[in-house]
């Protein structure tokens, strides 16, 4: 087998056009992974729905034109006019789901993005400077980790009021220490490696040592964590709006809240729980599958 790989290597070397950077190889592995194709398709599907919601939705999601059909004991389910039925306010469920994708995806992506960027910043500072800076940042993250995220979310909502911003902050903040720790620890691991020692002995300046050598090689676990945590962020965001932390305006469609509003109507209109629930489930699954593919592509142990 080693003879074969040696030959393949030699062949590759003879072809001047195919330089394979790690990034390119990872991308190639992602594209060949069925998990990534399924996950990616789901993600793209929901993103397209969110982007083109006004064109796709058959009705205005806030219009309660069909309120006269709502009875305390019966809410119309799927029909020819309303594919996913009506909700408890007499609005078209499908249109609300389509517009709800906007809020749900936005909150998930935004909160994770904020958490990851802020976490990466603190991790970078801790990992680059070490010493007391590192100790200080790590003790602060310990404190953040010790606060239950639900409690944090409730306090944030109490301070800035019920809004989507509250949910974004509440989902973002608990992510900060996770990302900070992850980047720091992988930077510490990379710093021990010979290529960093080598760059030091070459006389490379500290800034370029960190930014060109340590950080690029420390980002893989961050990327994996980010893509896997996206599904958690979307579920958490839905859970928080289920608990009533979202926008104070009940007309704004959002999957978590749509689910929350229907708990007491489960036996009357099960479709109102099923559709948003399935939407959350499939979206989270899509991000999870894709994240798993990213992990497989970047994991050095699985690399040929």
């Amino acid at each position: 087998m080693s003879v074969l790989t040696r030959r393949q290597r030699a062949d590759q070397l003879d072809d001047p056009d195919v330089a394979n950077s790690l990034t390119r190889e990872a991308w190639r592995r992602i594209r060949q992974n069925p998990l990534a194709i399924v996950g990616g398709t789901i993600i793209v599907f929901f993103v397209l729905i969110a982007v083109f919601a006004p064109m796709l939705a058959p009705f205005n999601p806030r219009s309660n034109a069909w309120f006269d059909q709502i009875r305390p004991t019966s809410i119309p389910g799927p029909s020819r006019d309303h594919w996913f039925g009506l909700d408890e306010g007499g609005r078209d469920e499908l249109s609300r789901l389509i517009f709800g994708a906007r809020a749900s995806l936005m909150i998930g992506v935004l909160s994770l993005g904020i958490g990851a960027v802020a976490g990466a910043f603190f991790g970078l500072v801790a990992g680059a400077f070490g010493g007391w800076v590192d100790s200080l940042i790590m003790r602060l993250t310990d404190i953040l980790l010790a606060v239950p995220s639900l409690l944090l979310a409730l306090s944030v909502a109490a301070v800035i009021g019920q809004s989507q911003t509250a949910i974004v902050v509440a989902v973002a903040v608990p992510n900060i220490p996770l990302f900070a720790r992850m980047l720091r620890s992988s930077m510490l691991g990379e710093r021990q490696k010979d290529y960093v020692t080598s760059a030091t002995s070459v006389g490379v300046r500290r800034r370029s040592l960190v930014m060109r050598h340590v950080v690029p090689n420390s980002l893989a676990p961050m990327l994996v964590q980010a893509s896997l945590a996206l599904s958690t962020a979307i579920i958490d965001a839905a859970a928080l709006s289920f608990l009533g932390l979202g926008s104070a305006d009940p007309g704004v469609p959002e999957w978590g809240r749509m689910l929350a509003n229907t708990t007491r109507l489960l036996n009357v209109a099960p479709h109102l729980a099923i559709f948003p629930g399935v939407a959350i489930l499939i979206t989270a699954l899509g991000f999870n599958l894709f994240g798993e593919a990213v992990r497989e592509a970047l994991d050095p142990k699985l690399r040929r």
Binding site: R6, R9, Q12, L13, D14, P16, A19, N20, S21, L22, T23, K193, D194, Y195, T197, S198, A199, T200, S201, V202, G203, V204, R205, R212, H213, P216, N217, R303
Partner: protein, 337 residues
């Protein structure tokens, strides 16, 4: 000429959750003297954990020095700080053991090799690219390798990239820390010969750190044997292998197998008992007395210093002469090692 005087590297052992207390020190290097004349090779041998790699790193100031001086030509490396040190490091470069860990996986070969050139502005403009080609030629890699990434190469090729990177800084001294021990035997010879050729062409000075006695013998002018943070014997390469004096060197050499069953059977084997003592708590007196077959009272109390047995041959043993006599008495003449 590289001169190392009384080099000491002690790593503090710290305890405590918030306020670190220093509760002791690992004496990785504890008083090492080395002299390497220009354009020669010193082989530094010893078993794992004896501090030989730390000596290499200490010369480059990659670990903090506890005491001692390192002087290269007229440059006192051990006195430099910050920017001065950063600039001076160019004159001393290192080749690493693990050809997989020593190259940044996200840099292509050209970027790896040009890093020293750009950092120290040794070439500018088109001359940089020209220099990369020169370096690739001199380490025996195809020029097309420049745009490749490290994972596309075999271990031996990667080691050549590492050598090209070291040469790019135009150093005078190269510290090669186990440069071939991660390679297949067939590749080892190629890399060692490459190092020898480069020395001849460029007048390089080498400090070759290895546990492989055969490799060291092949390329070194002088060999120093290290045990638990100190040098126990240093001699011209041939002398050390044919006429070893320190009991530790005797034991090391007797562990090298000889590919001849008759000689192998008649050899005087010295098998060392026990493990290397902890450098955090080294034995009193002679560091080697806990494992030495010839240890006497004096060895426990007094630490032997390196002394000249004959010009160029130094041994740190109180009883080197007596041991030599007793061995030739029991063996009745030449010792085959």
């Amino acid at each position: 000429m590289l001169q190392v005087r009384n080099l000491q590297v002690h790593f503090p052992i710290k305890k405590g959750l918030v306020f670190d207390r220093t509760v002791g020190a690992v004496r990785a290097v504890d008083g090492v003297d080395l002299t390497i004349p220009r354009s020669t090779t010193l082989g530094l041998v010893g078993e794992s954990g004896c501090g030989k790699s730390t000596v290499g790193k200490a010369i480059l100031r990659l670990v903090p020095l506890t005491a001692g001086t390192v002087t290269f030509d007229n440059l006192e490396l051990s006195a430099l700080q910050n920017e001065e040190l950063r600039k001076a490091r160019r004159h001393v470069q290192m080749i690493f053991q693990d050809p997989y860990a020593s190259l940044n996986p996200r840099q292509n070969v050209e970027s790896i090799i040009t890093e020293p050139i750009r950092t120290h502005q040794l070439r500018t403009g088109a001359a940089v690219h020209q220099r990369v080609n020169e370096l690739l030629d001199s380490v025996g890699l195809p020029r097309g390798a420049a745009s490749r990434y490290p994972h596309e190469f075999s271990g031996g090729q990667r080691q050549r990239i590492g050598i090209a990177r070291a040469l790019a800084a135009e150093p005078d001294l190269i510290i090669a820390d186990e440069p071939v021990s991660a390679l297949d035997v067939s590749i080892q010879a190629q890399v060692i010969n490459l190092l020898a050729d480069l020395q001849e062409q460029l007048g390089l000075t080498y400090l070759l750190i290895s546990h492989d006695l055969a490799v060291v013998r092949h390329i070194s002018d002088t060999v120093a044997v290290m045990y638990l943070g100190a040098i126990v014997e240093t001699a011209p390469a041939e002398t050390l292998y044919t006429n070893p004096q320190h009991p530790y060197t005797l034991a090391l050499l007797s562990a090298v197998p000889v590919p001849d069953p008759v000689v192998e059977d008649s050899r005087h084997r010295m098998v060392l008992q026990g493990d290397l003592p902890s450098p955090a708590n080294p034995p009193s007196g002679c560091r080697f007395h806990t494992r030495c077959a010839y240890a006497q009272r004096r060895c426990e109390q007094e630490r032997p210093v390196l002394r000249d047995l004959e010009p160029g041959h130094q041994v740190a043993c109180h009883f080197a002469e007596e041991i030599a006599v007793s061995i030739s008495a029991t063996r009745g003449g030449d010792v085959v090692l």
